[in-house]
């Protein structure tokens, strides 16, 4: 497969720990896309980065008594989904890169917009 044939979807996650019910869908869909050989990234902004705080995925339950977020997050990452944040979003939530789970990549607004332009679709949650 040449690079031009690879399809790309960029998801944007704007909700965080304040709304568990809005936290898992992005990982479901990202994992499904990655399973179809789509190149997938998730950009966490507004309160989205709070989902990436070390210790959070293991404890955040999507609904009372249900599975934790880490289950869905790991599923997506195992399939190669990449996670992105930018500095202002971290500042908004009083987070630093070292507070986050491993493997999260720091980008900026220009890089985000470039990714959006290079993607086949951008989907916002």
């Amino acid at each position: 497969m040449t690079d031009d044939e690879v399809k790309r979807i960029l998801y944007v996650q704007t909700s965080g720990v304040e709304s568990p019910g809005r936290s898992a869908t992005v990982f479901f869909l990202a994992a499904s896309a990655a399973a179809m050989d789509v190149e997938v990234g998730i950009y966490f902004t507004q309160t989205g980065p709070t989902l990436l705080q070390r210790g959070t995925p293991e404890t955040l339950r999507i609904k009372p008594g249900g599975a934790t977020l880490s289950h869905f997050m790991d599923q997506a990452r195992d399939l190669g989904v990449r996670f992105y944040v930018c500095q202002p979003s971290l500042d908004l939530n009083d987070l630093k890169m070292e507070d986050l789970i491993d493997g999260v990549e720091m980008i900026g607004g220009a890089a985000f917009n470039d990714m959006a332009l290079e993607s086949d679709r951008v989907i916002c949650f």
């Binding site: 497969m1 399809k7 479901f28 869909l29 994992a31 499904s32 990655a34 399973a35 179809m36 050989d37 789509v38 599923q75 399939l79």
Partner: protein, 79 residues
């Protein structure tokens, strides 16, 4: 029924979206190119999902049937 040789069977009965497609994407890599994987599923969403999977990945659903609430797909690895 046909005489298609089945290289492996993936049992996704009882699993819901997105697990069947995720497991399929892994399982298809474990068989040889040109070989056929049998997949069983109970999630009705797996029907449109396999349609999408074959469209996007090029692997082909060569046979599809349903009996007693179980969907059976034969998926051929194409690359």
């Amino acid at each position: 029924m046909t005489d298609i040789e089945i290289a492996a069977t993936l049992d996704c009965r009882g699993l819901t979206c997105p697990l069947p497609v995720i497991k399929l994407s892994r399982a298809i890599r474990t068989i040889e190119t040109g070989a056929v994987l049998e997949m069983l599923a109970t999630d009705p969403g797996s029907v449109p999902d396999l349609e999408a999977f074959q469209k996007q990945t090029g692997h082909t659903v060569i046979e599809q049937s349903q009996a007693e609430g179980v969907f059976r797909f034969l998926v051929k690895r194409m690359k």
